[in-house]
Symmetry: C2
Subunit: 155 residues, 2 copies
DNA sequence: ATGTATGCAAACCATTTGCAATGAC
DNA sequence: GTCATTGCAAATGGTTTGCATACAT
């Protein structure tokens, strides 16, 4: 899609600017990883990213994956989440409709939850002696399926 | 303090109810851990809990610590947080003035942030097909000290 | 008496690190 | 040519697991 290509160009440029500003080298590995994320991987963990890179026949080591991810986090092109398990999840940060997360404490399913009012209220908070850059709101509870199962159990 | 003792009694009873309901044994280790948390450890990680238990001359294995913490999480007497590093933090959940968290992305300091309006708005949200039990709001940014340092750097 | 919980040590697994080889500049 | 970056393999460190022993019931 044209729009996606445009976004890809923008994030590549932002990445280039960041790398230049920080005197980092512009390696093909780094751009390939960014490309994959902004083409195929809206949400992902390290393992699936590693395999997706392999599938594209662009083999990178895990070390490079972690190194690059740190850069992408630093320049805010990627967000990192930890939902209570010991796995880190990542998602695109640029032009990714902002959302909150609903986490089922039973089956660990994660849903996106968009709510403009919540976003506005949280973003407009003035906080003393703190300069906010971004936030994560995780709401824990039971997804619909698990709530039904719990109900059935009690009867 | 009297009030603290009362709270301790209440959480012990809640724990007892949970253990009974789930056919778990009421071991001295489990109660000693709960006692420590609700007496001395408002916020803690596993390592500091382990050492604090030792200082009380009540040695427990890390395995027991993890096992017990899972029970305390299940019965909602303890909350778990992960702020982006690979360490899990815990805090009391019962009668612990609810608060959000401010995380400095530079020095990783964590501050509590109380805001009744935010809490109300978030708690009163009706979410379709999801039954919330609790939530975590993490606001990332620069603490006062780090913001000053950044400013100085740029000049 | 039964079987759950404990302590210990080993295993696990995501992430990090050290180092020689590669390649961006 | 120089030095940051890569891949690899080993190390790290928080958490989990297996198993024999202890102990709550």
């Amino acid at each position: 899609m044209d729009k996606d290509n445009k976004i890809l160009e923008i994030v590549k440029q932002k990445f280039t600017e960041y790398l230049t500003a920080n005197k980092c080298r512009k390696t093909p590995e780094r751009y390939a990883i960014l490309d994959l994320i902004y083409t195929d991987q809206r949400h992902f963990d390290m393992d699936s990213l590693y395999e997706a890179m392999n599938k594209r026949n662009f083999r990178v080591s895990r070390a490079t994956l972690y190194n690059t991810m740190q850069l992408l986090l630093d320049c805010k092109l990627v967000l990192k989440h930890q939902f209570g398990q010991n796995i880190s999840f990542y998602e695109r940060a640029y032009n990714n409709d902002f959302h909150h997360h609903l986490i089922c404490t039973n089956c660990h399913e994660i849903q996106e939850y968009k709510d403009a009012e919540l976003r506005t209220v949280i973003q407009n908070k003035k906080i003393k002696r703190f300069t906010p850059s971004h936030y994560s709101l995780y709401i824990y509870g039971l997804c619909n399926a698990c709530a039904k199962k719990e109900k059935a159990k009690k009867i």
